[in-house]
Subunit: 425 residues, 2 copies
C-alpha cells in the first residue's frame, strides 16, 4: 500500500506516464521504420502527441508537476546515448579528423550566426520588429544568431547508430565537430549573456572582456584534455580492480557511474553533460572491458533514451503551427526564414571537407538539428527579456523543424552514398 502526499507527483502517475512513454515511443518508432524513416523521428512525434499541447500525458513545461523528474531522466538518457556512442568511437580516429571537424564546426557556427543576424536586421527593415524597443534590435539579432549556431549531436548520433554508420568517416567528423561546436556554443553563450547583462546595466555599451572569453575556452578545453588523459591513465587499473569484484552488476554500474561523474564534471566547467559522457565513453573504449560494458549498457540505454526524444518532442507547442490563427502568421513567417537560414548555414559546413570518399552532404545535414541545445539558447533569450514571446515561438519552431527534418534527410543522404559505394565496388 502506498501513502503519497497529494501535492506531489505520485508514484502511480509516474508509473503510467513512463509506461506510455515507452509504449508510444516504440509504436511510433516502429511506424517510422516501416515508412523507411529513422525510428528517432517516430519518438519525436510520440513526444508531440504525449506532450502538453496534445494529450498532456507527459509533463512538458517547467513548473508542471512531474516535469523535473522526466527532464532529469531525459538528461540521463541522452548522456547514456552519448556514452554508448563514445564507447564505439576510437579517440585516435577523432584526433585524425580533428582538423576537418574543427573547420566544419567553425563554419557551422560562423555562417548560421551571420545569416541569422542578417535576417533579423532584414526583418527590421520590413517592419516585422515594430513594437519592439529599437535599442534591443542588435541584441535580438545577436541572440537569434547564437541560437542558430547550436548543434544537437544526440539526434544525429542516434540516426547514425540506428543505421550502423557510427564507424563511417562522416560519423567521426560529425561527432568531432559536434563536440567542438558545444565548446564554441559555450563561448557564444558566455559572450551573449555578457552582452545582454552589460546592455541591461544601462551603460549603453556592449562590452565583454577578452580575458573572460579566454577563461571559458581554457576551462572547456582543459576539462576535455585533463579528463581524457587522467581517464586513460586510471581506467585500466580501475577496471582491472572491478574485474575482481563478484557482486552482481558491478561492471555495468561502475561504468555508468564513470559516465555520470564525467557528465557532472563537464557540467561543472559549463559544458553540456553529454560532452562529459561522450568523453567517458572514449576513455572506456580503450579498456579491455568495453565489450561487456557495451552489451550490458544496451538495455539500459533502450529504457532511458526514448525519454529524451519524447521530452524533446513534448516541448513542441503545435498550436503555434496553426496558420488559421492570425497571430501565428508572422511567427510562422519568421520561423520559416530562420529555418531556411538554419539549414543553409549548417549545410555549407559539410562542403568544407575536402577528404576523398566523404559524403559532404551527409555531414552538412548531420549538423542541422538544433535540438535541446537550440532550445536552451532560445530559453536564455526569453529569460533575459531579449526575445518577445512571439520571437521565442518563432525560434522554437525553427529549432523543431531543424530537429525533425534532419533524420529523414540524413537517411536519404546516406542511401545516396550506399549506391555510390555499390557502383564503385
Amino acid at each position: 500500500m502506498s501513502v503519497e502526499e497529494v501535492s506531489h507527483y505520485s508514484v502511480e502517475q509516474f508509473f503510467i506516464a513512463f509506461a506510455l512513454i515507452l509504449i508510444v515511443s516504440k509504436l511510433f518508432g516502429e511506424l517510422a521504420e516501416r515508412i523507411k524513416q529513422p525510428s528517432v523521428l517516430g519518438e519525436l512525434v510520440a513526444g508531440i502527441i504525449l506532450g502538453g499541447s496534445v494529450l498532456a500525458v507527459v509533463p512538458s513545461v517547467s513548473g508542471m508537476s512531474g516535469y523535473e523528474i522526466f527532464h532529469i531522466l531525459a538528461e540521463v538518457g541522452v548522456a547514456i546515448l552519448l556514452f554508448e556512442i563514445g564507447l564505439e568511437t576510437d579517440l585516435k580516429d577523432l584526433i585524425r579528423v580533428g582538423f576537418t571537424s574543427t573547420i566544419v564546426a567553425i563554419v557551422g557556427v560562423v555562417v548560421p550566426f551571420a545569416l541569422g543576424f542578417g535576417s533579423i536586421l532584414a526583418f527590421e527593415k520590413f517592419g516585422l520588429l515594430s513594437g519592439i524597443d529599437p535599442s534591443l534590435h542588435i541584441l535580438i539579432a545577436i541572440t537569434a544568431g547564437a541560437t542558430l549556431t547550436a548543434t544537437s549531436v544526440g539526434i544525429t548520433a542516434r540516426v547514425l547508430s540506428d543505421m550502423n554508420r557510427l564507424q563511417s568517416g562522416e560519423a567521426k567528423i560529425i561527432l568531432g565537430a559536434a563536440v567542438i561546436d558545444d565548446i564554441l556554443g559555450l563561448i557564444i553563450l558566455g559572450v551573449v549573456s555578457g552582452l545582454i547583462e552589460s546592455s541591461k546595466s544601462g551603460s549603453g555599451e556592449m562590452a565583454i572582456s577578452a580575458a573572460g572569453v579566454g577563461f571559458i575556452i581554457l576551462k572547456a578545453f582543459g576539462f576535455l584534455v585533463v579528463a581524457i588523459i587522467i581517464g586513460n591513465l586510471t581506467s585500466k587499473r580501475l577496471f582491472d580492480l572491478i574485474d575482481k569484484m563478484r557482486v552482481r552488476g558491478v561492471l555495468l554500474l561502475f561504468a555508468l557511474a564513470f559516465a555520470l561523474i564525467f557528465s557532472y564534471l563537464a557540467a561543472l566547467v559549463g559544458l553540456a553533460p553529454i560532452v562529459g559522457a561522450f568523453a567517458a565513453g572514449l576513455v572506456l573504449a580503450n579498456t579491455n572491458q568495453f565489450k561487456p560494458i557495451e552489451e550490458r549498457l544496451k538495455p539500459v540505454s533502450d529504457v532511458f533514451t526514448p525519454i529524451f526524444f519524447v521530452m524533446v518532442g513534448a516541448a513542441v507547442d503545435i498550436r503555434v503551427f496553426n496558420p488559421f490563427v492570425s497571430e501565428n502568421i508572422p511567427i510562422l513567417l519568421i520561423a520559416l526564414i530562420l529555418f531556411i537560414v538554419a539549414v543553409v548555414g549548417k549545410f555549407v559546413s559539410g562542403w568544407t571537407v575536402f577528404q576523398k570518399g566523404i559524403n559532404k552532404t551527409a555531414i552538412g545535414i548531420g549538423m542541422i538539428p538544433r535540438g535541446e541545445v537550440g532550445l536552451i539558447f532560445a530559453q536564455v533569450g526569453l529569460t533575459y527579456g531579449v526575445f518577445t514571446s512571439e520571437l521565442f515561438s518563432a525560434v522554437t519552431v525553427m529549432v523543431m523543424l531543424t530537429t525533425f527534418i534532419a533524420p529523414p534527410l540524413l537517411k536519404i543522404a546516406f542511401s545516396g552514398s550506399d549506391e555510390e559505394a555499390e557502383e564503385s565496388a
Copy 2:
C-alpha cells in the same frame, strides 16, 4: 551547456548523487559478500552512510530537494525487482502452496499484532506512556500492532534471488504469503485509519463498517484474479505481435511497460505497486518470450534496484541509536521490546508449515523484515497524530532492525538446510 533554475534539483546534482549511489552500494555490497553476508545488507548500509543523518548525499526525507525523484526511482527499482522475481516464479507453484502461504500470512499478522498490542498496554502499566492522552492508548496499541504485521517482500526476495533460492519451496511459500500479507495489510490499514478517524470525530466510539472491509478485500482479490486472468489471455497474442516489430529494444520496453501498468493498476485499487509488478511477472512467465525478457531486464534491474535499498537505508536516522543521549533511552527500550516481539511474531508463522522437507526457520525469518511497508504504517501513525515523535522513532528503529537482521539470518537458516540436503544425499 545547461541552464537550470537554481531553486530546483539540478541535473548535475542528480548525476553525482546517482553515481555515488551506484558506486557506494556496490562497494558495500561487495564488502558484505566478502564477509559472507547478502549483498543487499551492504546496500542498506550504503544507504545509511549516504543518507541524511551521515553524508547527506542522498536526499532521504520528504521535502528535501531531490527526494521525490529518488523516491520514485526507488519505487521503480523495487517494482522491477518484483517483476523479475515474478518472471522466475510459476503461478501453478504459487497456487499449489496457496493454502500454506495463507496460513503463514494469517499467523504472521495475528501473532505480531497481538504481541504488539499487548506490549504497548504493558508499557502503559510501567508508566512509559505517561504524558500521552490516556484516551489514545488503545489507538496507539492498535496502530503499533498494525505496524508489526507488515512484511517487506523486497528484502527477502532479493536475498533469495542472490542465493539462487527462488525456485525453492520456501521461496514460493514466502512469496505467496507476502502477497497475501500485503492484502491483509491493506485491510488493516483501512480498518486502522477508519478507527482513528471515527475516534477523532469525537463520538468516542471506534466503529468501522463490515461493508467497508468487505469492499477492500473484494477490490484487492478482484484485482489479482482479473489481472492474472486477463493478462494470461492477452499476453501471448500481445507478445507474438511484439515479436514482429523490429525497432530496437521493443521487447524489453513493452515488458517493462506491462509491469508498470500492472503496478499502476495495483496502486489504483490500493495495493502496493510491487504486488502488481509481481503479478505482471507471473503472467509473462507463461509466454514464450520470457527468457529474452529476463535477460534484457537484468542490467536494467541492476541499475534501478540499488536505489531502492539505498533509499530504505537512507531513511534510518542513526542519531536515535546513540545511547549517550538520555532522550534516546526510552525510545531504544521501547524499540528493543517491539523488535523482539516483531521477530518472535513472524518467526512462529514459519512453524505453521507442516510440509516435509521445508525449512520452517527460513520461512519464519523470511517474513521478519518490515522494510518500507512498516515505514508506511509508522508514517500513518505519525501523520494522524497517534504516535508521538518518540514512539514514531521507536517504531522506526524496530522496522530498521527487522530489515537489517533478516538478510544475515536468512543466509544462516539456508546454509543449515544446505547441510541437511548434503547429509541426506
